[in-house]
Symmetry: C2
Amino acid sequence: MNTFTYYNPTRIEFGRGKENNIGEMIAELGIKRLLLVYGTGSIKKNGLYDRVIQSLTTAGIAFEELGGVVSNPLLSRVHDGIKMVKSHDLQAVLGVGGGSVVDSAKAIAAGALYEGDVWDFFIQKASITAALPVYAVMTLAATASEMNGNSVVMNDATKQKYSISSVLVNPKISIINPELMMSVTPEYLAYSATDIIAHTIEVYFTATEHPRFQSRLVESIIKTVIETTEILLKDPLNYDARAEFAWASTQALNGLTNSGTGGGSFPNHMIEHALSALFNIAHGAGLAIVIPAWMKWYKGQNPAQFERFAQEVFGLKTADEGIAALEHWFDSIGAPVTLSAANISRERIGDIAENAHGLALLWGMGEDYSAATIAEILQNA
Amino acid sequence: MNTFTYYNPTRIEFGRGKENNIGEMIAELGIKRLLLVYGTGSIKKNGLYDRVIQSLTTAGIAFEELGGVVSNPLLSRVHDGIKMVKSHDLQAVLGVGGGSVVDSAKAIAAGALYEGDVWDFFIQKASITAALPVYAVMTLAATASEMNGNSVVMNDATKQKYSISSVLVNPKISIINPELMMSVTPEYLAYSATDIIAHTIEVYFTATEHPRFQSRLVESIIKTVIETTEILLKDPLNYDARAEFAWASTQALNGLTNSGTGGGSFPNHMIEHALSALFNIAHGAGLAIVIPAWMKWYKGQNPAQFERFAQEVFGLKTADEGIAALEHWFDSIGAPVTLSAANISRERIGDIAENAHGLALLWGMGEDYSAATIAEILQNA
């Protein structure tokens, strides 16, 4: 088992109605003025916006608003937010929405206390040494952004979808109310399920060590996600399934599954970021395409863990059976498992591979993942 | 799934040699003077004491020492520590040892900022509203004291073994170096294994809700503990098994297994506290006696979860088979599973039940656990 540091100081407030106290919770920590970040308007339709505003107002917290954050969130919008924080001397950033919103809130929180361009952090030209406190009210369970220091942002000028990771931007408090997630479409539920599974299996397969507890934790998360997704596709208002899905999602990328494994790498995310950067498809949809293709290519590098996966998750025997079962499951919930299913021409494989290889270099995987290798993997898709 | 708050801000530093930087880590947080708490001398024999002193000195941290903390740690020693902190104006408490040492450090940290007697917190006469920062270097994996806000202390005057719980005394940083645990005797390893399993199954069986992920997490911890204990009994220097055992132990009582379950209760701990208070036996030994007796008595109240336990942990079918397998396993690793195996006369069952009932009242279980009921449970032991 490898040496590691585990430190996750995010406070999770989980359950019905918790968002109604967000103002009070933030005020207790001495915040008087914040930036409220949200997406393209659904929170205004379903009343969440009004409830959050009410809570902030009652707690005496003033706020400026930055709406319009899209999935695959844009650097240009993050720049807007940083300007607002600086010009209004705001003390914190509250994201109300899904992963894109909270990722944007984190990038704004880090950029607000930095002299240069926040993109410097993403291209590893600078390190985050301070950030404003971040708070989150989640409307989607997928990225675990509510309990980690990760932020993925798309540079709209360069078409690079890059990320940062720092405990300084871990939300101080995150609200997870499963009721706020009940209106997620079946399509997005499927993409979210794919994303959660992706978060766990990257390290599960690529790590240098496989401690028993960590492998079991991953299998527990995947089985929980599979079971609750199937319930929710039939019964979207099932609170317990929604809650169990959400909590499994949080656990999938809060640092715990990786502890002691030596860390592993994230090749599926690396390749997918190129897909969504170039074709603006949902991250989870891209992952459903990449994962089975990558598994078929990678399985020989860790046959024991691939067999274990087949056995523990699906009750099957061989690595190939496990991969086929996962691919079949993605397909069964409506996630695309081929490039053509997402209307991406195979002629673009070269472009995707080039874009992904840029990220591979940045993530220290350049040697294992040349553009040619990535193209070879994508031939399986 | 129930509403909950999950907040665990302890930073874990896990791996070989981490204790050599404890001074530097503490100094980074602005501490100049602390109380060093330890046990009955083993850390002086094995060189750990010298390495910690060296690290503190190099980092420019002055310290006072409180040694001699025993298992089932005493309130009188906690009082001594509080006096030392107050008279030397110390800023933090560092525990180097097992759960008893760190529990004592926590009680001292809370008591040092309180005008009254620290015992007030244990009998719920007062609530902890402030505490000095606590740090820990662990030499035993069992209580998860390294990653929770719990402290169990024995009032030597009244023979009450009571507890507190507050995130204010969660260690700021805990060092878990599995190498420091390699000299644990087979006997104590068995007691530790029992204790860890006890931490998980109390809520697993008594909770009002059983979310999939939480049940799987508990089963993952128990299976990991069983497998690694068996390895360590044959091969005490096996680093990976020692490490996996230690991390499973931490996960067993850091709040995660309980999240969303509605909380459940801790009847086995309640009854055991009476056993160790009256007979000064090891906590884990007492639990091995109590758990099978309690399971036989309780199984009818949650038959589905008892069947699940038998199936998922032992690959068996019925509740009774699962209970027998666990009892057999405790016995196989050398933990006592009857009162007589611990040289406790059955004539004392009345006294034990009376003492335990006092705690049941304090923990809000007085109605379910009358002295007569506790005596009935102990008849199974």
